[in-house]
């Protein structure tokens, strides 16, 4: 066993397979993150989803009216956050609960049966956690 070490056929196949796997998983990760990186505002009325709107820093501010049991709920979708502007409900708890912006957060107006929630990204990767 003197002289230079030569790569065997098995080595070359192994290297090719690993390169293939890593490229495939790069594409897989890309596909997954493009599904989850966006946040959406989902507005439900009487248990049924009625509107799904993209949420992001570049989205223009707009006002959406959704009909509930008592009347129209006025919802403001602004840059990166959503809030209930006005509601026909007596207690106005939904208006007082303020703006939401992160996936998983929710605004509920029980009397008018309107729910606003944000869906999207499943938790980010945190390099500092290592």
């Amino acid at each position: 066993m003197t002289g230079r070490l030569k790569l065997t056929k098995g080595d070359k196949i192994l290297v090719a397979v690993i390169i293939l796997i890593s490229f495939a998983s790069v594409l897989g990760v890309k596909a997954l993150s493009s599904v989850y990186s966006d946040r959406y505002v989902v507005i439900e009325s009487r248990g049924e989803p009625v509107k799904k709107i993209l949420l992001g820093p570049n989205v223009e501010k707009r006002i959406v009216k959704v009909e509930g049991v008592l009347g129209y709920s006025v919802i403001e979708i602004g840059q990166d956050k959503v809030r209930m502007l006005d509601s026909p409900c007596p207690d106005h708890l939904c208006v007082k609960s303020g703006a939401i912006s992160e996936p998983g957060q929710i605004i509920v107006c029980l009397p008018n049966q309107v729910v606003i929630k944000i869906i999207g990204d499943k938790g980010e990767v945190d390099a500092s956690a290592f």
Partner: protein, 175 residues
Amino acid sequence: MEKTRKLIFMALLVSSGLALHVIESLIPFPIAVPGAKLGLANIVTLLTLTIYGFKEGLTVALLRCVLATLIGGSVSSLIYSISGSFLSLVLMYLAYFYTKNVFSLIGISIIGAEAHNLAQISVASLILQNYGLYVYLPVLLFVGLATGYFVGLSTYYIKQVLFKNLQVVERRESG
């Protein structure tokens, strides 16, 4: 006599692995991905495995992990490195002793490096309960290819020198 000789040689392997581990931590690594490293200590593990066998390789690898943690490391890094070393040793053992001449030392070393990465990232995502860590896997696989090649080549040349100068063990046929 033979037993003492082996004991001393294994102790030397553990200590040189430890030294490589420390030296490695002094070398800045350009790729800032958690878990990516040169894996110089794998040279010693591979050397022990190919010269003595599985049991001795496991002893040297585990001793090195524990001692390296005492020198500079945390308990979580011990868990990562032990799981990585264990899986990589098992796979390298299977590749070396059960597939005759399919892989050279370079191929075996690449298998070890990739297994180390895989085990480490799996344990990390189990501990942190965050499977998003697998995002790093493609990068780690690529890095492991390069470092595995380097480690395999180094092991090959070190083994040549050892056999020529020390005649520590009977020659064993290897690729």
